[in-house]
């Protein structure tokens, strides 16, 4: 399920969550938590950190919920904005660029530093592969193929034209295919 796919009951959940209804809050979490977590996981490459950031995103959602108004912006898109802002804030605090050069990551993803390569799970292999991409290519790949957004949703999220995202997507898949061919 994509991050931006609304649930039919979503409006009711939001109205009830605004009043602090714990079950409505749980429902919003159940529906959106995995999408937000996946986005953050593949952007930071660390499961523990992604989980912490996901918690932050949802706590911010609780804080800002009274101010949320659906004016053409779906709840998922609003939540995604929070996630993206939180991610940028995290990078800013860390004082480092989001893009990690491949040669700087010989140890691989954080969860698997000591794990033999033949035991690395798909998600970890993907995290490793994503590091060959530029920042923009990585964002496109994560949103389109790992979070599950449509091309149009990706373009809207990144503030780019659909054509620009298509081109980025093509270059990113080409780079990943070359990388995978090389390491095979």
């Amino acid at each position: 399920m994509g991050l931006l796919t609304p649930h039919p009951e979503e409006r009711r959940w939001i109205a009830r969550a605004r009043k602090g209804d714990p079950e409505a809050i749980a429902a919003l979490y159940q529906h959106y938590a995995d999408g937000v977590y996946r986005y953050l996981l593949y952007r930071v490459g660390d499961a523990e950190l992604a989980e912490d950031l996901t918690a932050d995103v949802f706590l911010k959602m609780i804080e800002d919920l009274p101010r949320y108004e659906e004016r053409g912006l779906p709840f998922g898109a609003w939540l995604f904005r929070i996630a993206r802002a939180r991610l940028i804030d995290h990078w800013r605090r860390q004082g480092r660029r989001p893009l990690v050069a491949l040669e700087d990551t010989e140890t691989g993803p954080q969860l698997s530093q000591d794990i033999p390569e033949d035991e690395i799970a798909v998600s970890e292999m993907i995290q490793r592969a994503l590091r060959v991409l530029t920042e923009e290519q990585r964002e496109v790949v994560v949103l389109r193929f790992l979070v599950g957004m449509s091309l149009e949703e990706v373009a809207r999220a990144m503030g780019k034209s659909v054509g620009a995202v298509k081109a980025l997507q093509h270059r990113a898949l080409s780079a990943l295919a070359r990388y995978l061919e090389k390491i095979r």
Binding site: M1, H7, E9, R12, W13, R16, K19, G20, D21, P22, E23, I25, A26, A27, Y29, Q30, H31, A33, D34, Y37, R38, L41, Y42, A47, E48, E51, T54, A55, F58, L59, M61, I62, E63, L111, E117, D118, E119, I120, A121, V122, S123, M125, I126, R128, A129, V141, F145, L146, G148, K166, Q169, H170, L173, S174, L176, A177, L180, E181, I183, R184
Partner: protein, 345 residues
């Protein structure tokens, strides 16, 4: 590179990706769209990437997140009720300041009085450790001069707890403030602020606010202050009889939630989360998640979300369960790929 050819290839790629998203089979697609054959490695890569969508929060992490959110929402709901009465004393503060101003003006110290006014205003928002905090406490002493002992105790309990909340929101957990607030609350309750009118409601509201945040503190406060906060929570629970509540009574918003109290995320638990094989996680889930409001049954696809976070696959199982990256023309379709090794091989 030919820009026109590139543009055409980009369009073909997008068309094929959409077909794959709709469930088309890659081999069939390539037979139907022969011009996409050179794009096979890219399409296989896209299919391989989609396997990353299987990653989800572990059931335990999901419960913990939900619990945190519910606690935060409960705190938000409780805070405005409790803070309102504090403003009743704002007039007293203004009156005292006015009196001081008049006196200072009378002796020709207009400038000094303005400085004083600014300092007192700024001090109101200060927290322990900040330069103006002593000013805040001094003014507080003046404001409470005319209050009855039980009103004073309750007023100070609320003030200290507001400071504790404000500090916690900035990531500073100050157990001393919690203890002071609890001591004042107990004092207020014992002095008889339990009458049917306002004070009783304020006492209960403050008690609920304290419970919510102290419970959250157990999960999120840094280890160095956690034991002090745990003692504060014990003290809080011990106050329940004084306030006529069941011991350790938890604020209402959390009562109907099927989220058991979770253990601290110890290194052992973290290791377990990382090393549990994907197929085994579901067995650990004690029960199905509670049905959300207005939802008769679990939404489609929700069952899948109970799959674990990225985990290490144990030797032996990996080759069967974990597909490798696309292998180009000679490889099997991604869904069938069971690479004998990882990309690193």
């Amino acid at each position: 590179m030919d820009p026109k050819r590139d543009a055409l290839e980009i369009e073909i790629l997008e068309r094929c990706l959409r077909r794959l998203e709709q469930g088309a089979d890659l081999e069939t697609l390539l037979r139907e769209v022969p011009e996409a054959v050179p794009l096979r490695p890219l399409l296989e890569t896209a299919l391989w990437l989609r396997r990353g969508q299987e990653v989800a929060l572990s059931p335990a992490a999901r419960r913990r997140l939900i619990r945190q959110g519910q606690l935060r929402a409960a705190r938000r709901a409780a805070a405005p009720r409790a803070s309102r009465p504090v403003f009743r004393w704002a007039w007293a503060l203004v009156a005292v300041l006015g009196l001081i101003l008049v006196l200072l003006s009378a002796v020709g110290a207009a400038e000094a009085s303005l400085v004083l006014l600014s300092a007192v205003g700024a001090a109101e928002a200060s927290l322990p450790g900040e330069p103006l905090y002593p000013v805040k406490r001094a003014v507080e002493g003046l404001v409470t001069l005319g209050m009855s002992p039980e009103e004073r105790a309750l007023y100070l309990a609320e003030r200290r707890w507001s400071e504790f909340e404000a500090s916690a929101a900035r990531g500073r957990w100050l157990p001393d403030l919690a203890e002071e607030s609890l001591a004042r609350l107990e004092e207020a309750a014992r002095l008889g602020a339990e009458g049917p009118a306002g004070p009783a409601a304020r006492l209960r509201a403050l008690y609920e606010r304290q419970g919510v945040l102290l419970e959250e503190a157990a999960a999120v406060a840094p280890p160095d202050v956690r034991s002090a906060l745990a003692r504060a929570r014990q003290r809080w629970a011990g106050l329940a009889p004084v306030l006529g509540r069941p011991e350790g009574g938890i604020p209402e918003p959390t009562r109907s939630v099927e989220t058991p109290v979770l253990p601290e995320p110890t290194a052992e638990i973290l290791r377990e989360r990382i090393h549990t094989p994907p197929g085994l996680e579901k067995q650990e889930t004690p029960s199905a998640p509670r049905t959300p409001p207005g939802q008769e049954k679990t939404p489609p696809g929700q069952e899948k979300k109970e799959t674990p976070r990225p985990v290490r696959t144990p030797p032996g199982q990996e080759k069967k369960d974990t597909p490798g990256p696309p292998r180009g023309q000679d490889s099997a379709p991604p869904g069938d790929q069971g690479p004998k090794g990882s990309p690193g091989r």
